[in-house]
């Protein structure tokens, strides 16, 4: 048992902090306000390996582990939560399943650029009529000579604008629902890839989310990831690690809000005393910190299990469920500590509240995760 990060994890975290200080923190609030995608900060993260934290060195990654990845996503999200999801998607939803299911050729063609950060990835699963129920996917991949032709429209694609590579899930046998899905690696510049207009969002305004249409995109067999009709396994691999990332993101968002609440409570005086000395405020801060740590340990526990090669579907679901619910509560409480000032954009705490909500939605809504966690008990 050891609750401290390893020296390698600590060193990596120091690198992450240094990049955040120099390239992100000074601009975070403006980028949020202007819904600016932080493209200029990405090379610095790529340079320290944050684009492929647990991808092996030989495939262009940083060669660390899932715990290091979770710690990094948390840290990044405590400063600019949108950047947390940009990188979590690249690591867990793209690089990870290619590392797991890709052929050696796919790894050098697709994984290396992702892990090194020269190409950004996007995960295109959700459709207008296929959200929690991914079996309803209507995007089709039809055999075409030795390859496939891809047709359909995906929505709410994170990194949809800047992505140089899409992992697209399509139906290859439409009648077979979940057993008829296949995953494809689609280069962003392939003819027929049509990016829609960027979505306006409540939070994570610096992340680029948009619909992407695939209109008769021709793909070779070398673009298929994993076996035909085995797309669900690819999705699960991606999403399980992704949920650890979203959990870490939620912890980071909440920590960012908590840190601001503590700082404000020390500074702000009312009734001739600092807020931090007023019992009602102390009660709020005590609850916030406890909830953050409970979620944090749950996330790191799932990450550590993944690093030991144990199955993590339930642990990752629990981690994201715990962390996302906590995140919404804690960011709300942080505004409460700030009073009216918390509602003003200038104090920089309301954006965490807006950013929090989506963690309960994407990569598995809480309702879906509860069914999974319950299944770990009743099917055990």
């Amino acid at each position: 048992m050891n609750f401290d990060p390893t020296p390698a994890q600590s060193r990596f975290l120091e690198n992450v902090r240094a990049v955040l200080r120099e390239h992100v923190a000074p601009h975070a609030e403006r980028w949020d306000r202007e819904a600016h995608f932080p493209a200029e900060a990405l090379p610095a993260f790529a340079a320290i390996g944050a684009t492929g934290v647990y991808i092996p060195l030989e495939h262009g990654g940083r060669g660390l582990d899932t715990v290091a990845y979770a710690l990094a996503i948390e840290e990044i999200s405590s400063v600019l939560p949108a950047l947390g999801i940009v990188l979590s998607v690249n690591n867990s939803l793209l690089a990870n399943p290619i590392e797991r299911f890709g052929t050696p050729e796919q790894k050098s063609a697709f994984l290396e650029p992702l892990a090194k950060g020269s190409v950004l990835g996007a995960f295109a699963l959700t459709e207008a009529e296929a959200g929690s129920d991914a079996t309803r996917i209507t995007t089709r991949a039809v055999r075409d000579g030795s390859g496939y032709r891809l047709d359909g429209e995906k929505v709410m694609v994170t990194n949809g604008g800047p992505a140089g590579l899409f992992l697209v899930t399509a139906a290859t046998e439409p009648g077979k629902l979940g057993r008829g899905l296949t995953a494809f690696l689609v280069p962003g510049d392939a003819p027929g890839v049509k990016r829609g207009p960027r979505d306006e969002t409540l939070g994570l305004r610096s992340s680029d989310v948009r619909p992407v249409r695939f209109a008769g995109v021709k793909l070779g067999a070398e673009h298929r990831l994993g076996e035909e009709n085995h797309g669900f396994a690819v999705i699960l691999e991606a999403i399980n690690a992704g949920r650890i990332g979203v959990g870490a993101q939620a912890v980071g968002i909440a920590r960012g809000a908590l840190d601001r609440a503590v700082a404000y409570a020390r500074r702000r005086r009312q009734f001739d005393q600092a807020l931090a000395d007023i019992p009602m405020v102390q009660q709020t801060l005590g609850t916030m910190a406890t909830e953050v740590d409970a979620a944090r340990l749950t996330v790191l526990y799932a990450a550590a299990r993944r690093d030991r090669g144990e199955p993590i579907a339930y642990d990752a679901a629990r981690a994201k469920l715990q962390a996302s619910q906590m995140c919404v509560q804690v960011t709300s409480a942080a505004i409460q500590v700030h009073g009216g000032w918390g509602y003003m954009t200038a104090t920089g705490v309301e954006r965490f509240y807006r950013d929090a909500k989506v963690t309960e939605l994407y990569e598995g809504a809480s309702e879906l995760l509860r069914i999974l966690v319950a299944a770990s008990l009743t099917r055990g």
Binding site: M1, N2, F3, D4, P5, T6, Q9, V67, D259, V262, A263, A265, R266, A276, P279, V281, Q282, Q283, L285, G286, T287, A289, T290, E291, D293, A294, A295, R296, L297, T298, L300, Y301, A303, A304, R305, R308, R318, L321, Q322, E367, L369, R370, I371, L372, V373, A374, A375, S376, L377, T378
Partner: protein, 395 residues
Amino acid sequence: MDFQLTEDQQQLRDMTRRLAREEFAPLAAQWDQTPGAYPLDALAKLTELGFLSLAIPEEYGGVGYGAVANALVVEELAYASAALAIMVGVHNTIGAGPILKFGSEEQKREFLPRMAAGELGAFSLSEPDAGSDVAVLTTTARRDGDDYVLNGAKNWVTNGAHAQILILFAKTDPAAGARGITGFIVEAGTPGLEIGKPEDKMGLRGSDTVALSLTDVRVPAARRLAEEGTGMKIALAALDGGRIGVAAQATGVAQAALDESVRYARQRRTFGKLLADHGPLQTMLAEMERRVTASRLLYLRAAWLREQGRRFAAEAAMAKLYATEAATYVTHRAIQVHGGYGYVKEYPVERYYRDARVFEIYEGTSEIQRLVIARELVRRAAEAETPAASGGVPS
């Protein structure tokens, strides 16, 4: 970062689990429901196996396990009987603990081997009018030659009716507030020490809780713990450790309530399907499960920090706050899962519910825990501002 137990810890946990579930769990309802039935046979068995000397080093007759192992044992015992777990937990943590940490060499040699051999320990701080606010204690200890003479009244002493060795706090300087408090080792049977009738409680009915009255109780000065005026520090240090125990206890009860609920949900059918297949029931089970898991991680972290000799007060407070509120939530939902059957004593969940309620109160209420945590947050934030800041807490 590594959440794995050591082989020793795992073995101890597995052994405790077997013992608790096979031998003690079947008796727990009887201890709960029969007035005056206390788990004394179980305590004798636990003594024999070394469970009453877990934290005591070998040189004083104990088995010398660390804080993690101690907490794991409390969780496993609480899974079977929260009453049994608190008796053992109080004995090990806030009974033997203060002697171990603050006692003189003579005191350790005299009392620890006796406690390891089964003489039960207790901790007596609270008074009828002094609960969370320890500074207002009114029990006094007046120096008289080589003795102190103690007078006053104490409340809520767990194990009080069965304990031979009490860690008791009194004012040696009544005018000095918290700085006038001193700790004493007081033996049961000392003239003038009267043990009250066990309280009639909502839960933990298998453990005794008594009031004490002290009338000119003479305690040799050699049984004073550390210096005069250090009692507050000793009490708070003991309670920091005790909080890990209460968090572990709460986790054990919550885990038992969850497991009972899962068992019930897998056998009970409504509207043509198992409860376990109804969405709203699945929601309840998941919300219970995540709280139990987080509780365990929190108490393990606090125990690990303690074992490493690091600051752990805030982490212990977090563990206690979270785990005890989780136990309240989980045992409440457990009854809900059982429906009407959860309300009758045929099933154990109503006992869990009653037992859990005190966890948020004793060894520091939830409100006190939040206060401890908030102060620590502010302290760390201030420390982070000074360049000389070092150490801190792993998080």
